[in-house]
């Protein structure tokens, strides 16, 4: 029961947060000078005043901002995110079309970073001052410090150009005919470099935290007891220590969800990955307000869901959390 109460409470917060996100974003976008009609004009290589006024009237952009905001919130409450000026299609349709690509990228990058980060952290913790530990630290910090688009281009040069293993852009090879398997294989092939790029930022975080957390746990009494019982070192590390060292790492991973999504915008642009990030970039450049707002709304939603999921995972792996609200 306590669980349901927590859930209801969380959902309540989420709704308030989402409305705040909408109002705030709407206001901020409207504070900036210029609008979508300027970008439409630019796309056209110049336009004339009558045409621009006509388009503004069609989109309701000639109305006062407060009226536009009211109309917008009204529509969103009816689950209508509006119509994209640029793509000429309903925003919800656009977002659902792009969401799978982004989720695939974000989740695979997160899982990749978590698995590798934890493994590296565990190994580094065995000999905290050993050579391997230092190499891990160096490698991880490099990934963390390098701008993600730069890492992406570097990987492209290395593994698309010098050693041509992976394709340079896109999500699948459109010239491939065939059913599910060839297509899935093609997508996996295209996914590798973007996943490595996006994951590289977070490996540092997870491996450093896991190392620290492991070091702490390895020094505790029950680990000494386990060793004294004569358990194999591997079992001590994997079964006793790691389980208790994980919660901080998982918490951090959950908190990083928003960072992963913002990282995805850059990675998607470098690799032409057709997800929400590219949609965001295109619509920001085009000042396509309904699409931008829709994406921000959805990103907020994904972050909230991600945080909720983190909570549940924590409950699963750490019994101490279960009792609390």
């Amino acid at each position: 029961m306590a669980f349901l109460k927590v859930l209801a409470q969380r959902i309540g917060y989420a709704v308030v947060l989402l409305i705040a996100v909408l109002v705030l974003n709407f206001t901020m976008i409207n504070l900036a000078p210029g609008d979508v009609v300027d970008t439409i004009a630019a796309d056209m290589g110049g336009a004339n005043a009558e045409l621009m006024a006509q388009i503004r009237a069609e989109y309701g952009l000639d109305q006062p901002v407060i009226v536009q905001l009211g109309r917008y919130i009204g529509r969103v409450l009816q689950f209508d995110l509006g119509y994209s000026y640029f793509y000429n299609r309903p925003v919800t349709e656009l977002i659902f079309e792009r969401l799978p690509a982004t989720l695939l990228l974000v989740f695979s990058a997160q899982i990749f970073a978590l698995v590798l980060g934890i493994l590296l952290g565990v190994f580094a913790a065995q000999k905290p001052n050993g050579l391997f530990s230092h190499i891990v630290t160096l490698f991880a910090l490099f990934g963390y410090a390098a701008p993600v688009f730069w890492t992406g281009i570097l990987l492209l040069i290395a593994f698309s150009l010098k050693i041509p293993l992976f394709p340079v852009a896109g999500m699948r090879d459109v010239t491939i005919e065939g059913g599910f398997f060839p297509q899935a294989l093609s997508i996996a092939h295209h996914l590798v470099l973007p996943m490595l790029t996006l994951g590289s930022i977070f490996i540092a975080l997870y491996s450093r935290l896991c190392r620290a957390s492991m070091l702490e746990v390895l020094g505790s009494d029950y680990v000494r007891t386990a060793k004294a019982k004569g358990l194999r070192p591997r079992d001590v590390v994997m079964k006793h220590a790691l389980k208790n060292a994980l919660p901080p790492v998982v918490t951090l991973a959950g908190l990083q969800f928003s960072a992963v999504i913002s990282g995805a915008v850059l990675v998607e642009t470098v690799f032409s990955w057709p997800g929400l990030g590219q949609l965001a970039l295109t619509s920001i450049l085009a000042r396509d307000t309904p699409t931008i707002l829709g994406i921000l709304f959805f990103s907020a939603l994904v972050v909230i869901v991600g945080n909720l999921l983190t909570d549940f995972v924590l409950r699963m792996i750490d019994p101490r959390v279960r009792g609390r609200g």
Partner: protein, 526 residues
């Protein structure tokens, strides 16, 4: 028999060799051309949307009455012949007889009339067909454009992406053509390639139109336009062979790198009609130093164009001395090019009544640059003008609408800009200098607020002059006066390049670059 065949084969081969000296090799049929678009098009109907990313697939989907090769001479395309009336007030087009749209309906003069009306009502370039009063259709294959005044620009306006012939039976159903659902999906066109798929941010796929009105063409089976926004990714794709061709490349470092690769060719040919020119624009309409042409001239003398051409553009762009692209037959290179001369600059500024103060400064100005690619020019201008006592602040407005609304509302001193010629000066050049075109809130209008009755008069005369010689003379005078008045300081063409694998034959190197029909393009292994 075998010997005979061998002998025959040998003599054919010999003949082919001989012919080969004059012609290129025999075109190869089939294959898929993989090329790129640097942005996502809004849709694929160039009748109601300008811009290069709609124009490239648009020119394959839709045929225009005329086409051009690299020497600016109109060639028959959907119109097998065309003729001006003696008074220059009507243009008669004789259409190819058996041309059909992709859905099998015949292409008739009704469709031509409908296309002209649609473009006139919806396309941003009002000057293309603004003087077309009506289109008469005496029979199925004859269309007569009736004009209110002679309009030589019509010849370029009837080519490429500017005048796609669109089917009346589809777009004439009463829906707004600007947001017609068939602009981006199930597009039915008249050109060499048919619509297969358009997925925004991913790709446009076109396939061979087997029923194309030019027998035996096109050669390619398919064209895939991959939408890749990152210039570095496009150049890596060219280098590793994933892409056959990419157009409108303008990041000089990537171009340099690609040009070092033996299996690809890099060329700046093909952009003369697109005509992109970089310039430093002055707000001449506000009170202050920039209202004085001596100050504008001094600034031009102080900014070293050679540095821009060689250091910033790495020698990949051309010197542009006027507002008409150097690739145009109307370009006049005899005007003052404002080569670096600091003494002259200082003298002009003194003469204009802006002496140096105790700190060596005369006055302060701002440069608002929009497009991030013009940042180096903006910074260089600041450093250059410091030498003659002008204190410049560089403001960066990389968000396009922010920059555009600042410039178009005349709230600026100077800006670096890139503006396209779009073929004829009437379409893309006049708008910058026409005193009638000072329109608040409209970017790439006469945002400099430049007014000169003589220039207005010359543009008006040249716009109506059918005789090419006389027309060129009028534009020559136009360029001379502008170079003296200097409402903007033209520096260089944008370094647009077409990059293609050596497999690609007949790449689009005519004046309209990728907005030319690809019916002659084919792929051949080396």
């Amino acid at each position: 028999m075998t010997t005979f065949l061998k002998a025959l084969a040998r003599s054919v081969a010999a003949a082919a060799l001989l012919v080969g000296a004059a012609h290129a090799d025999e075109p190869v049929k089939g294959g898929t051309l993989i090329t790129t678009l640097p942005q996502t098009p809004r849709h694929l109907n160039p009748a109601v949307q300008s811009g290069i990313v709609t124009g490239a697939p648009g020119a394959q989907l839709f045929a225009a009455p005329l086409r051009y090769d690299e020497d600016w001479t109109p060639q028959p395309y959907l119109a097998e012949s065309w003729a001006w009336s003696d008074d220059g007030l009507s243009m008669t087009l004789n259409l190819v007889k058996d041309a059909r749209f992709h859905d099998g309906e015949p292409i008739t003069s009704e469709d031509v009339a409908f296309s002209v009306e649609t473009i006139k009502a919806n396309h941003p370039f009002k000057t293309m067909f603004g003087v077309v009063d009506s289109v008469e259709t005496p029979d199925e294959h004859t269309a007569v454009l009736k004009l209110s005044q002679p309009h030589p620009a019509l010849l370029l306006a009837m080519s490429s992406q500017l005048m796609p012939i669109i089917p009346k039976h589809i777009y004439g159903d009463g829906q707004d053509p600007k947001s017609h659902p068939r602009n981006g999906q199930d597009v039915v066109g008249s050109g060499p390639f048919k619509f297969v798929e358009f997925t925004p941010d991913q790709q446009v796929i076109l396939e061979r139109n087997d029923d194309f009105f030019i027998e035996g063409r096109p050669y390619l089976d398919r064209i895939v336009y991959r939408i890749i926004k990152d210039a570095a990714a496009r150049s890596i794709g060219m280098e590793n062979g994933e892409l056959h061709m990419t157009t409108f490349e303008n990041t000089v470092r990537n171009i340099k790198r690609m040009s070092e690769n033996d299996s690809i060719t890099v060329t700046d040919e093909g952009y003369a009609a697109i005509g992109p020119i970089n310039w430093l624009a002055f707000n001449t309409g506000q009170d202050g130093p920039l209202a004085d042409k001596r100050v504008r001239q001094a600034i031009a003398y102080a900014v070293d164009k050679e540095f821009i051409l060689n250091a910033i553009m790495l020698g990949l762009s051309q010197d542009a001395k006027t507002g008409i692209h150097p690739g145009s037959p109307l370009y006049y290179e005899g005007v003052n090019g404002y080569d670096l001369d600091l003494d002259k600059a200082n003298a002009l500024l003194d003469e204009a009544g802006y002496p140096k103060d105790a700190n060596g400064t005369r006055f302060a100005l701002t440069i608002d640059h929009g497009n991030p690619t013009t940042k180096p020019q903006a910074e260089f201008t600041k450093a250059s003008l410091a030498k003659v006592g002008i204190d410049v602040t560089v403001n960066s407005f990389v968000d396009f609408p922010t920059w555009a609304s600042k410039i178009s509302n005349h709230d600026f001193d100077m800006t670096w800009d890139t503006v396209f010629n779009w073929g004829d000066p009437v379409i893309g050049v006049h708008r910058t200098y026409d005193s009638q075109n000072i329109k608040e809130g409209v970017i790439w209008s006469n945002t400099q607020q430049y007014t000169n009755p003589k220039i207005d008069e010359l543009m008006n005369a040249a716009g109506q002059e059918i005789d090419p010689e006389k027309r060129a003379a009028l534009y020559r005078e136009f360029q001379e006066i502008l170079a003296e008045d200097l409402p903007v300081y033209w520096t260089n063409t944008l370094p647009y390049h077409t990059v293609y694998s050596n497999k690609v034959r007949n790449p689009p190197l005519g004046i309209w670059a990728s907005s030319s029909p690809y019916d002659l393009v084919y792929l051949k292994e080396e």
